[in-house]
Symmetry: C2
Subunit: 149 residues, 2 copies
DNA sequence: TGAAATCTGAGTAAATTACTTGGAATTAGG
DNA sequence: CCTAATTCCAAGTAATTTACTCAGATTTCA
């Protein structure tokens, strides 16, 4: 039941963007350096985030990425699902799934998977990037230095 | 964030046991046939379940497995964790983890992973095998036939 | 014009998963 | 006592997924 690096890197990178793209776009290179993630790999993640409408890009020199909307409109859930696909613990309860077996409506274990799925979605959809930004600011005030990985 | 077949098969098999081991042990062969799971693979899963004290075994001819305690003492969570390890979405918030990075206590994203972990554990620990047995019985009464995969 | 960036598709090594295989040990029933 | 049925155990393996790298095309600022 682990997230892949896509989801983990994605949240880190989006939080980095939220903290750094207030005055315009931010290059992947700088995110990659700050967060210690391969720049080439980040490109792939941002391609997905862009297709899902979570970030906007500016091409060419001095180009980069910025959040597509304000941080309080972007949930952790939307980021994770963009990069990981459905957060359902089993295919047959994926929100979009066509992979439902023929006994699905008489399947007891499926009820369990649904409950897990719903709770996970509940948590991740209740947390916005703004919430994380606020946490970072609080930590920085308390400690006097920058930590937010 | 998917469960592996270990967790899925494990829940199916344990529910099968709960329904069939009232009058003594049940062979893996019969579980494997009913649930359409490889018998050899099930052996490995039951080795883990036994080590975690969830099932008891009887060796030799006519031997088999039975639940180690009553179904209402066995949670879905304990079965899943026996087979999958910690259900934490990220290593650094595993309950047993020694893999905590040095910035852990100033890490904002870690708070997110913890919340996910706690909610997942909350759901799976709130469901017992007895709950699933009851669901099966209800379905059978309603429909008149046996379905519980 | 050149450097810095995004964009795109393909390739790949390592790890993980989902098994299979082979055989030893145990025990009920004939 | 023998045999078949079973658990137990350790290794091996094919397929899949992950986490990247690489190469190059395209765009745009200075």
């Amino acid at each position: 039941m682990k997230l892949s690096t896509r989801g983990r890197y994605g949240i880190k990178a989006m939080l980095d963007l939220a903290l750094n793209s207030q005055e315009g776009q931010v290059s992947l290179k700088s995110i990659a350096e700050r967060q210690d993630i391969s720049e080439n790999y980040l490109e792939q993640l941002f391609a997905m985030l862009r297709k899902n409408g979570l970030v906007k890009s500016v091409r060419g020199a001095q180009g980069g990425y910025m959040l597509a909307t304000s941080p309080d409109n972007i949930t952790v859930g939307s980021v994770l699902r963009s990069l990981e696909g459905s957060l359902a613990p089993v295919e047959c309860v994926s929100e979009d799934s066509t992979n439902v077996c023929d006994r699905a409506n008489a399947c007891v274990t499926r009820l369990v998977w649904k409950k897990i799925r719903d709770r996970v979605n509940e948590v991740v959809d209740s947390i916005t990037l703004q919430d994380l930004v606020n946490e970072v600011k609080k930590m920085n005030e308390d400690n006097g230095y920058m930590y937010y990985i």
